[in-house]
């Protein structure tokens, strides 16, 4: 048992470290390091613009999507090399936020189901950040139950015509391409009537509208489709096989979101160690210590769980299912930590201004943003189902709509 690199890993790390040291935009280091939660905002630069420059630079030197084959814009690196790269890229990895959905979800789906021509045309530009991709899955009527989606695709000659609405699409407003799942047959049970496509986001009939979120920010979009035409050549997988195709995408979603998880613990420990209350330092209070200790072992437990997965990769094994706990633990923790930090601040905890003493409103932002961490990329409840069914082997729930034609499934609860 040790934390050391193998000689090959150490050599790879050295190369990566030297390249980052020579090429990273160091002027952004502090700002990136201090932004721990949610979308990155830079004071004097646009994240997409700065991100594209960094991604292109990486790509030119062979550090973009490095686990992909070389012919598709990668480096042909091993899984452990990818982890080492992420460690060495460090805070600058936050600049890749606009590309993570493309790299983590759309790319692997195109890789698995696209034609050779598509792969050579789209993947290298996706990898280099020159073209950004988004994922068009969730709908107002299909969140956790993605297969309940209603966006229609109808065949017309060699084309498909799309009508409907998607929601919760990150980055749709700056994306060049989108991965789109549609319903092509409403007369069969829901999982069987789906088909996957990709499309140019600038196609006529595509309208992107920002969503104002509960935390007051606008990071996601609604995307409306009105008679949007997609050529059949942009279909991924067989007609009616969209559900299976989407599983490839979603498995990758949970893995990529789990890669850089904020728990709020380091910030909270620091806060409690310095906050003077009427009874002395917060960290000297019995109740506070107990909570801190519980959060500490969750944070360390997640860290060492990921080390176990990295060790498996290092040996060339597949990581076990234990990594599936990450987001489930971190999401609730963020919310609990934010709530308790504000409790310690007392009445002043209500103030959200960035010029407020103590924490500049960071826990208040955390409180308002944390609900999304428990929903995006699989709700806590869906994640528990996945652990129960795939890890523990418990049976799936009884699905009353499983064998019912989609157009006969009820669409309203109370009527």
């Amino acid at each position: 048992m040790n934390f050391d690199d193998t000689p090959q890993e150490a050599a790879f790390r050295e190369t990566a470290r030297a390249w980052v040291a020579a090429n990273a935009p160091k002027e952004l280091e502090d700002e990136l390091a201090s932004s721990s939660l949610g979308r990155i905002r830079l004071k004097h630069a646009d994240i997409v613009e700065v991100g594209k420059a960094w991604q292109k630079k990486k790509s030119d030197a062979g550090w973009a999507c490095l686990h992909w084959p070389k012919e598709y814009g990668g480096r042909g690196a091993t899984p452990i090399e990818r982890v080492i790269w992420q460690q060495e890229e460090g805070v600058y990895g936050k600049l890749t936020q606009p590309f993570q959905i493309g790299e983590g979800m759309c790319g692997p789906t195109v890789m698995a189901y696209g034609s050779e021509e598509h792969k050579r045309r789209y993947l290298p530009k996706l990898a280099s950040g020159e073209e950004i991709w988004c994922q068009l899955f969730s709908e107002p009527a299909g969140g956790s139950d993605v297969a309940g989606l209603r966006t229609r695709a109808e065949k017309r000659g060699d084309d498909w015509v799309i009508n409907g609405q998607k929601i919760w699409t990150s980055g749709a407003h700056y994306s060049d391409y989108g991965l789109l799942i549609t319903r092509t047959d409403p007369n069969v049970p829901k999982h069987k009537g789906l088909t996957m496509f990709f499309l140019d986001m600038k196609s006529p009939g595509v309208e992107v509208r920002p969503i104002k979120q509960a935390n007051g920010m606008q990071e996601f979009n609604e995307v409306y489709f009105t008679d949007v035409v997609i050529p059949d050549s942009q279909r991924l997988g067989a007609v009616g096989d969209g559900w299976n195709v989407s599983l490839t995408t979603l498995m990758n979603e949970r893995m990529s979101i789990g890669a850089r998880l904020a728990t709020g613990f380091p910030e909270m420990f620091e806060f409690c160690a310095n906050l003077m209350t009427e009874n002395g330092l917060a960290i000297d209070d019995r109740a506070t210590r107990s909570k801190l200790a519980s959060w500490a072992v969750k944070a360390s437990g997640l860290k060492y769980t990921s080390y176990r997965a990295i060790s498996a990769l290092s040996k060339g094994d597949r990581p076990g299912p234990e990594n599936s706990i990450g987001k489930l633990v971190a999401g609730v923790m963020l919310q609990d930590i934010a709530t308790y930090a504000m409790d310690l601040e007392g009445a002043a905890g209500v103030l959200t201004g960035a010029d407020e003493a103590e924490t500049q409103g960071q826990f208040q932002q955390m409180l308002l943003t944390s609900p999304s961490m428990r929903i995006a990329g699989g709700t806590d409840e869906i994640l528990r189902n996945i652990i129960a069914e795939r890890v523990l082997g418990l049976p799936g729930d009884i699905r009353v709509d499983k064998d019912v034609p989609f157009n006969k499934v009820p669409t309203k609860g109370r009527t």
């Binding site: 210590r289 500490a296 072992v297 080390y307 009884i398």
Partner: protein, 375 residues
Amino acid sequence: MNFDFSDDQKQLRDQARKFLAEKCPPKAVRVVLDGKETYDRALWKGFADMGFLGVAIPEEYGGAGAGHLELCVIAEEVGRALAPVPFSSTVYLAAEALMLAGSDAQKQVWLPKIASGETIGTLALFEGTGNPSPKAIKLEASNGVLNGTKKPVADGAIADLIIVAARTASTGRDSDISLFLVDAKAGGVEAKALTNLDPTRGQAELTFANCKAEPLGAAGEGWSIISQVLDRAAVLTAFEQVGGSDRALEMGRDYALDRIAFGRPIGSFQAVKHMLADMYVSATLARSNAYYGAWALSTNAPELPEAAASARISATQAYQHCGKNNIQVHGGMGFTWEFDCHMYYRRANALALGLGSLSYWEDQLIDRMRKRNAA
């Protein structure tokens, strides 16, 4: 990075699991649970024959000289099987204290007998209600003679070798405490077995009346040695707790698959499923923290105090969580004496207290993290 046990260590774990599955089924645990025996003598002999007792004891003192990672994998299996033997008090407490602080002569006398199963050992630390603290130690030592009472002492009624924390001064400092070694057979100590949460692991009150004792470690070093022993025992106990958590989770999972209610397996209901998923989360966090503790213990790393506290807290929480929810998944049957659920529930809650309670270790962890941050 190789943050995992080696193939040899995993093989040892499999070997221990197989051995315990055969020699320590729930039926055997119940013999002790029902008070027919104070511990499982045949199993204890088997532990000695398998080399489990001396796995971390150096060869020159009659052990296998393997190491603490090997001991960790055995501890996990001991916990999983609820082995009703004085393993933790003898191996994690007495043997560790001897290896840390014993003179060569003391090691020569006692360690081979521990490895062979001849000697059962324990640490007599507590004196009634409260957590580990030098202030709580009233038992006095003067001129090589002990006077006072200790309780609870794990496996105190069957121990041959008792390591005693005693007061040798009253300055209010940690250096007031020294350790002593008592041969229970030599007289001067009287044991009274006490009823406790987990009858498969005995607890006793020990009364020392002009009991002859020899110093273990330097005078005034007692508290420092105890702190180190507790850290080491915390990691090893965490593995017992991890083994127990996993077993309780499996029992709950298996029952949820087999038990039909409302015309379907109860494991298909989300309320039950989610409870089991949460148990898996706790058990996974505990295992990962325990691995870090194992690394720190096996390399004697400066991180050991913090790693031990993390392992201890995480494992305590996980076992308590899995222990109680295993009963909940079983419903009414889980509350019968006949089903094994309560044995895990009892062990989970007894292990949660033995080395100092959760709140004590929470305090320790925060102090240790602050020390690191300040450094």
